[in-house]
Amino acid sequence: MGNKLTTSEIVAAGLARRRRKETTFRLLGILATAVGVLFLGVFFATLIAKGASAFKQTFVQLEITLDAEVIAPGGEIDLEYADFDGLVRTALRSRFPDAKSRADRRELYRLISVGAGYQLRDLVASNPDLIGAKQSLWVPASSDVDMLLKGNIDASVEEALRTMSDKQIAWVESLENSGEIRSEFNDALFGNGDSRDPELAGIKGAVMGSFYMLLVTIALSFPIGVAAAIYLEEFAPKNRWSDLIEVNINNLAAVPSIVFGLLGLAVFINWMSLPRSAPVVGGLVLTLLTLPVIIIASRASIQAVPPSIREAALGLGASSTQVVFHHVLPLAMPGMLTGAIIGMSRALGESAPLLMIGMVAFIVDVPGGFTDPATALPVQIYLWADSPERAFAERTSAAIIVLLGFLLLMNLAAVIIRKRMERKW
């Protein structure tokens, strides 16, 4: 009898081990949660560390003579063919007379962006009186100079291994010492379309492309989505057909987005011969992509309207259509709007289907309509991420910050609508 353990003794013997297991399990849980949160922290930290500097751009001050001989050779101002770059180069040569050989001069010219010539042209175009005068102008530096000053080019490595020569670095230092170089807010990033030169590349074209696309998407997907949700919740008879639609919608919500791109390519571009790279086609594809999201959200918010509202309206003699449009729909609207905004924010971040329908083209002009060739903001990020230049990596991060900013605003709007207009029954 004596050597047999009682139940409570067995339990007590295992207790320490079980408590240890309990603690380990709990720690694992904390660890798992921390992984997600930690990733988010690292993600935003690296993003901001990489991208923040792109909002600043380096400018160089030059004394440029707007030579009448060059700009207006025969007395007529020749904006198209006048050698504005030449004027910039002349100014550079007079600032650094020590650059004598052709090789030196070529290196010298590389300090200034090709955008300087365009800037001069625009200046002359808007103010022809300046011709002949000497102007002190701040022109954009090339992306190499920009990277050097932002600390992305290490001057201490061997000359052959970096993109800037010793001479160029010396020139930049001399400009720096005399205060002829400064860092300003990067207007080009927000005001320009895409460009091969990082210092001139901007996201305006992509933002406008996304804007037109989302306009098409919301104009189509919100009414259609709400109508479909109303039908399925309020009118659909319980039969095979309704079940089929329901299963379909749930499945469509989980179909990979790239498959929608294939659909867009085959149907909208090949079969309907709509223009390639156009926001209207992108909008159509994104409509099909976001419809399930909006339908599911709208159905949930229709379900949340209590039946007593419907019964009261029916009891007062309203037809079933009147019940829906006069009572259920207004009460379900906040939830539907929230769903629509969330669908839109998904559409804004989507890029894979857009690659299929040709919205990856390199497009410099800012699109001005629904059929102009355009890219979208996430596609622009994809394109820039592929570029080898350091300066583009910085701009990619900046574009991502802008994109996440838009998404944040949209989600905030959704939260605010929900908080403001939500009703508890």
Binding site: F25, G29, T33, G36, V37, P256, S257, G349, S351
Partner: protein, 462 residues
């Protein structure tokens, strides 16, 4: 007339029709004082007339705009001189394209001769005439429809019922778009895939071990046939999916368990929305992060322990994809865990088991079907994910299980085959659709199974 102006005009006419219809309905009973004599509210008579005014005209407009390009092209081709009649269909398409470009004043790829010039002029002429006819017809139909409806207004016309019938039809049309989308996906992918399988046998596509879709321009070049064995793509997809699941499932599941059972409501209030943020980040951003931050880290780490890691490794893409999927796994697991009745949990705790024992021995087994369903959905998501792998996984179709090497996936190949210029008769372009078909079928199966498991399970305890 531009079609947008036409639509605006029709809208305006519909508004006018509403006004007239409403006024006539009141007039038939002798003024607003007698409105109770009408079958429906006066507004419904207005809508009735407006619908008859706008709807037929809009249907005509869309049908016309759909048919117009085909008809005009056929007419122009018919009008071409004899010398063009013998062209093959591909060359003819090119010619038509050029005529269209010439007509709209765009850049043309061939020399412009007077005959082409004439064809372009003819094209513009036909389009102009067609637009004139369309405008006349559409406005005529609108006026006619509106007038007929207007004349039919009588006090006992059941206007509300008719308007509601139209509304009902519109609602049904809206809800069947989901069906049409699915049909559209299936047909568009299937047709091109069948064309592909005529050129490349199905068995070679499904079981072939080499993937090199580059077909040569000239027939006598080396490797001119291309080879379309998709097995390396399938293994690459599986490898990356496996890595992603290896990250997402334990982390997502443990997160769900911790947040559901252990954490204080304060921690849950902070951690849950933060994890939701992970789900909201666009995939292209994850791709950028995988390619430019995580991949270099992994390579550095590999170098420091003496491993050769490719700069575009399966590992980087898989890990980042796993992190992206964490919220999906954790929210679906959370649903499954919360659906287990409290009585089971309370019973286990009451018998003296610790919380982790309750979880491992009671709740998780009970919630397992739901969790598995959720994992299936996550797998389908990982297989279909595109941007992360396009940016971080690389293009080389290696048949390998080594996560440090570059692999390629089905989605990456679809993108690379279809971005840029395409011709729809080459096996290379069509291959993308065959891959798309595979992708659609596989993800569809996973989704159907996953969704039905999740739903069935949810009902089980309700």
């Amino acid at each position: 007339m531009q079609s947008t102006t036409l639509i605006l005009l029709l809208t305006f006419m519909a508004v006018a029709a509403f006004y007239f219809g409403r006024r006539r309905s009141l007039a038939t009973v002798g003024g607003p004082g007698h409105r109770m004599d009408l079958h429906s509210l006066p507004g419904y008579y207005g809508y009735y007339v407006a619908i008859w005014c706008a709807l037929p005209a809009l249907l005509l407009l869309s049908a016309w705009l759909f048919m117009e390009p085909r008809l005009v092209v056929a007419l122009v081709v018919q009008g071409l001189p004899e010398s063009y009649a013998s062209l093959a269909s591909g060359e003819l398409d090119l010619l038509v394209n050029n005529i269209q470009n010439l007509a709209s004043g765009d850049v043309v790829s061939i020399e412009v001769d007077p005959e082409l010039q004439a064809a372009a002029a003819m094209f513009n002429d036909y389009i102009g005439k067609s637009r004139q006819m369309l405008a006349g017809l559409a406005l005529g139909v609108a006026v006619l429809g509106g007038a007929l409806a207007w004349r039919r207004i009588q006090p006992d016309l059941r206007a509300r019922n008719r308007v509601e019938k139209v509304i009902r039809l519109l609602l049904i049309a809206a809800s069947s778009i989901a069906i049409f989308t699915t049909i559209g996906i299936v047909l568009s992918v299937l047709f091109e895939a069948i064309l592909f399988f005529r050129k490349v046998p199905v068995s070679e596509f499904l079981f072939g071990l080499t993937w090199s879709p580059q077909t040569a321009i000239r027939a006598d070049q080396v490797g001119s046939s291309g080879s379309f064995g998709a097995v390396p793509l399938f293994t690459g997809t599986l490898l990356i999916t496996a890595i992603a699941m290896f990250v997402a499932v334990p982390v997502g599941l443990m997160t769900a368990i911790y947040l559901a059972e252990y954490s204080s409501s304060r921690v849950r209030g902070i951690a849950k929305p933060l994890l939701e943020v992970l789900a909201g980040i666009p995939t292209v951003v994850y791709g950028f992060f995988a390619a430019l931050t995580v991949a270099p880290w992994i390579r550095q780490f590999g170098e420091s322990v003496g491993l050769a890691v490719a700069s575009e490794s399966a590992l980087a893409a898989g890990v980042v994809m796993g992190i992206m999927i964490i919220p999906l796994v954790s929210s679906l697991s959370d649903d499954a865990i919360n659906a287990v009745p409290a009585a089971m949990r309370d019973g286990a705790l009451g018998l003296g088991s610790t919380r982790s024992e309750t979880m491992k021995k009671v709740i998780l087994p009970a919630a397992l079907p739901g969790i598995v369903g959720g994992i299936l959905l996550a797998v389908s998501r990982a297989i279909g994910e595109t941007m992360i792998v396009v940016m971080a996984a690389g293009l080389s179709a290696n048949l390998t299980a080594n996560p440090f090497e570059a692999v390629t996936t089905v989605t990456v190949q679809i993108v690379t085959l279809l971005v840029g210029d395409q011709e729809f008769d080459s096996a290379k372009t069509l291959a993308a659709f065959a891959l798309g078909l595979m992708l659609f079928v596989v993800t569809l199966c996973l989704n159907v199974i996953g969704l039905s498991v999740v739903r069935k399970y949810r009902e089980q305890y309700e």
